[in-house]
Subunit: 233 residues, 2 copies
């Protein structure tokens, strides 16, 4: 009863936003928000009586515009983004191994997991890991644009995520099939792309996906480099 | 870290399904499942390595077919429904004040909250209350069909839900606006239909909503009286 993790879903971009809550102090952290859902997010914060300490990004998204800058303005929270994403407007630049503290004694650990993008970072909190577009449920993020690299993603997942305790809850940034949560143990054994496939075979698989260019990339990426508030640049 | 509440959403009927989990024993309870999302629910259960003890209904739904009977068959869980709903195929008939025990020492309390239907029941677990269609976020269930009664709903909410601790998390069976969770304190002060309105004014409001007949009622209701497996009748 000391903490809560809330998962919110954007049906338009299939993006999950997460709210990590320390109950005794009512302090919260928002991860991967979406700009057009600002009022939804502020509604949850208001109903639960929370104070947002940090708005955090797993990477510079190509498929939706972040709500981080708007939340930063509306709640007074500090924005924290991975150092290697180069989002210079953020208040805090997170490197591998850095921690964000909130609440009475909560600690979020930044785990640099490059591959989907070179800056992509996962966040571990208690028995949870928020994996962004690095590790998805039964899949993984694409690696064919925006500094993506299949070999790096393979190494990140195998060396830095699959080494977490088996029971760790995996909370991805997206799901397109109605899934919500998985565990490290299950993904290690059953992930359709990453389980039982060696590095070379994985790189070959990712090179041949032939995915269409993300529809929103030309709008979302420059906006997200400015925390989603381009007009304030 | 001892327990988890998972909220799952059906975009088709805007129904929330809940999964209550006792982590030490990995035992779980599913509340208000949807038949066509059986594989989604079994997927979460499998990924988290859970054993489902009970499948529970808040009432006999008119807008979707329950997955309770299918989950009962596939997982070996017992089905528990409110006694006053008359769903005779259920293994357990819950009256007001009855409890369901699962995990090491988890206890779910049945709170009879008639109004949306005469059998409608809310479930309290730890600092959570699952309110079915009785209390929604910033609203409430309709009371104009299927043994509904606006006065009863008003009394149920004011006497049996708004008397819970203010911080109690409110988890409804539906939301149509992207909301996911609220608190008793917030609904008591801000619920658009129930806050600051006396019983007579509420009954009048509900009598004049002029809502269309639910599209699925003629299919869903008879099916749900048989736990969603009519062909097995």
């Amino acid at each position: 009863m000391e903490h809560e993790l809330h998962q919110l879903f954007d049906p338009e971009s299939s993006t999950f936003t997460y709210l990590l809550v320390d109950l005794p102090t009512r302090e919260a952290v928002v991860v991967d928000s979406v700009d057009h859902l600002l009022e939804r997010d502020l509604g949850v914060v208001r109903r639960l009586g929370l104070t947002v300490r940090y708005v955090v990004e797993t990477h510079a998204h190509a498929d939706h515009v972040t709500g981080a800058g708007l939340l930063q303005q509306r709640t007074g929270a500090q924005a924290a983004t991975p150092f290697k994403c180069g989002i210079s407007r953020a208040d805090i630049q997170l490197a591998h191994g850095d921690t964000l503290r909130f609440g009475a004694s909560e600690e979020i650990l930044a785990i640099h997991t490059p591959g989907h993008t070179s800056g992509s970072t996962s966040y571990r909190w208690r028995n949870h890991v928020l994996t962004g577009d690095t590790l998805l449920i039964d899949g993984c993020g694409r690696t064919d644009f925006q500094s993506g690299d299949a070999g790096s993603l393979y190494d990140s997942v195998h060396e830095r995520l699959f080494t977490l305790p088996e029971d760790t809850r995996v909370w991805p940034a997206h799901d397109y099939k109605g899934n919500t949560v998985s565990t490290i143990g299950h993904e290690k054994r059953h992930n359709a792309r990453l389980a039982g496939r060696d590095r070379t075979a994985f790189i070959e698989l990712m090179a041949n996906l032939k995915l269409p260019r993300p529809k929103l990339i030309d709008i979302a990426l420059p906006a997200n480099m400015l925390l989603g508030i381009p007009h304030a640049a």
